[in-house]
């Protein structure tokens, strides 16, 4: 009995909007608002934050009334490993250089697909290292730190 979420996709979308809206309002609460004539830094974001919060609430409420589909299942392995791979690239590119970052990204990223074969991954790493160094560093002259 009582309230039931009939449309989970809408409900969670509403939650995302609601949290961004609230965050905008709460974080921006002390920004100078100014007047309608002389708008301060806080005026526009505060209005938008308010609208977004309201929209989030509306989307959530609607999900309790109208039925909708469940979200597709989350593929935990591709999601996590792709994110970790990109994170590893971000963490290593400035510290230990492009070569190591490329290897990390490719190896962790390749693990995201259950179809990857290790001997193929090794070949992909070699090819991508060649492209990254050859095209981006020497070809386009982008300023990368190459090695530690």
């Amino acid at each position: 009995m009582g309230v039931r979420i009939r449309s989970p996709r809408d409900f969670w979308a509403g939650v995302i909007f609601l949290s961004f809206g609230l965050c905008a309002v709460v974080v921006g609460r002390d920004y100078p608002v100014g007047t309608a004539r002389q708008m301060g830094a806080g005026y526009f974001p505060m209005v938008l934050g308010g609208i977004l919060t309201l929209l989030g609430v509306l989307v959530c409420l609607r999900s309790l009334l109208a039925a909708g589909e469940k979200p597709e299942a989350f593929g935990v392995r591709p999601l996590l490993l792709v994110l970790v791979a990109v994170g590893a690239f971000a963490a290593s590119i400035d510290t230990i250089g492009l070569v190591a970052a490329t290897v990390l990204l490719t190896v962790i990223g390749a693990a995201a697909s259950p179809e990857s074969r290790w001997h193929e991954v090794a070949a992909v790493v070699v090819v991508l290292l060649g492209v990254a160094v050859g095209v981006f560093v020497y070809g386009l002259g982008l300023p990368f730190k190459l090695l530690p």
Partner: protein, 499 residues
């Protein structure tokens, strides 16, 4: 004739050996990446943007435009051969294109797509050259109130045309506007929403957002779905369409071109809308609608002409008013800004060589596409048969390098990661990300014009309805919104998108 003189200037710029080279490189790279399933034009442009940094502005824009329609065309190739739309504007091409390919007629399908696109490209280049100058004149009369109302209209149109729930589309736009405000306030230099992080003090780059929402999240979703991909490897025996094919499709090409060119100009419009509308129209007026979906050549010719026409005419609002009308144009704004060009009506008068050179290059690019693609179809087929597990690490790496090299900032890569996660959630919860990117680029512009309009009117909001141009724009926006809310039209809209 002014037009001829202008086109002469344009071709003078675009036909220099270096610029033809850049146009060719752009078209080739765009097609190459566009052919890969799951990477649309937005991610393709974002990925290749760093490659244009060192070029002079004219060459850079020519190359970027080339990448755009190359990616567009590459997407159609994937649609026909693998039944996976390379990007959303070729979704409808899948229906009849893939059906034709299974009957062994992939060659004529791809050829008619190329021929239709070329014809549409030629016509819409002319439309652009004819209509841009008078529109730019109108734009010079725009004050801040008019600009604000125009952006409202653009955003409303984007909402109306987005698939799925209206409320969610509005929320995505508002979220985009908000994210666009992160960083220093342009008027008071007050830092907003930086959470004390110095890395956020310049705001978030549009490439970062685009790459996260359209690049990373698409890779994850592709890996998850691992749809059976079945490339039609049957030998493409005949490339050229038969006399009968041409007789069947020339009218569809004409109709698609007209519809696409018209819809492309609309704010919020663009290639996706054009191709959907053209397909629906063909099906409506066909003598025997049941042939559609089973390999009717009109079902390939019309949407392919329409999406190319629309992708070109969608440059009109950008080049004349400085307002991007869809996600790809939002990226072009960013690209122009990087090269120190402020998009708007003044580009045409202050940098005629850039404006007309770009327009002329569009026609050259379309010609190159035909010359390039018909003989290279065999190579694209072979590329498509490379398994995704070997391709995606490369896509991932190029995305990362693309984001990093914008500012040599590892933080940007981290931020793109965050937007990748957000984009993934949006896919799961049925929220279309394109309106967010549009809002993101328009956010600061909208705030700036709102402020200036209110300052000039001494705080009186009536300024938006007392200026006739501004009022007209707002009325159109209101009418659009009303049209979607009215149930009858709403049902029609859903039908159109279901097809």
């Amino acid at each position: 004739m002014d037009l001829l003189a202008n086109l002469h200037t344009g071709f003078g710029v675009a036909l220099t050996l270096t610029n033809v080279m850049y146009c060719f490189t752009g078209v080739l790279l765009g097609t190459l990446i566009g052919v890969l399933p799951g990477i649309g034009p937005v991610a393709t442009i974002a990925m290749l943007l760093p490659a244009t940094f060192t070029l002079p502005p004219v060459s850079a824009l020519i190359m970027l435009a080339g990448i755009y329609y190359g990616a567009q065309y590459g997407g159609s190739t994937t649609a026909v051969l693998v039944n996976i739309p390379g990007e959303s504007s070729s979704v409808v091409t899948c229906l009849d294109g893939y059906a034709m390919a299974r009957k062994g007629r992939a060659g004529p399908a791809l050829a008619i797509a190329a021929i239709g696109s070329f014809f549409a490209g030629t016509v819409s280049t002319l439309v652009l050259a004819l209509f841009a100058p008078p529109l730019a004149q109108v734009a010079f009369q725009f004050g801040p109130a008019e600009y604000f109302s125009l952006m409202v209209l653009g955003l409303i149109a984007a909402i109306v045309l987005a698939r799925g729930s209206l409320l969610k589309a509005i929320a995505m736009i508002v979220l985009g506007l908000l994210l666009g405000l992160i960083g220093p306030d342009t008027n008071t230099l007050f830092f907003r929403y930086t959470f004390g992080l110095p890395q956020l003090e310049d705001g978030i780059g549009f490439v970062v957002v685009a790459m996260g929402l359209f690049g990373f999240s698409e890779i994850i979703v592709n890996l998850e779905r691992r749809a059976r991909r079945e490339v039609v490897m049957a030998k493409i025996e005949r490339l050229m369409p038969s006399r009968q094919d041409l007789a069947d499709s020339w009218k569809a090409v004409l109709r698609g071109t007209g519809l696409g060119a018209l819809l492309g100009i609309l704010p919020g419009g663009g290639a996706v809308l054009g191709s959907f509308a053209a397909y629906t129209l063909e099906k409506k007026i066909a003598r025997d609608p049941s042939r559609f979906g089973k390999g009717a050549i009109e079902g390939v010719a019309a949407p392919e002409s329409a999406n190319n026409a629309a992708s070109q005419t969608s440059f009109i609002p950008l080049l004349t008013l400085g307002i991007p009308s869809n996600a790809v144009m939002a990226l072009m704004v960013g690209a122009m800004t990087i090269h120190g060009i402020v998009p708007g009506p003044q580009v045409m008068s202050e940098r005629p060589e850039l404006f007309w050179g770009m327009i002329a290059s569009m026609w050259i690019g379309n010609l190159l596409l035909v010359i390039l693609n018909l003989p290279l179809i065999g190579i694209w087929v072979r590329l498509l048969s490379v398994p995704y597990r070997l391709l995606y690490p490369a896509i991932l790496l190029f995305c990362c390098i693309g984001v990093y090299s914008l500012n040599n900032s590892a933080t940007d890569v981290g931020l793109a990661l965050f937007f990748g996660l957000l984009g993934y959630l949006f896919v799961k919860f049925d929220c279309e990300p394109a309106p967010l990117l549009l809002g993101f680029v328009l956010g600061p512009m909208m705030e700036d014009n709102l402020r200036r309009a209110m300052l000039l009117s001494r705080g009186n909001p009536a300024v938006f309805v007392t200026h006739p141009l501004s009022l007209a724009l707002l009325l159109v926006a209101a009418a659009l919104l009303l049209v979607v809310v009215v149930p009858v039209v709403r049902r029609k809209r859903e039908e159109a998108f279901v097809e």
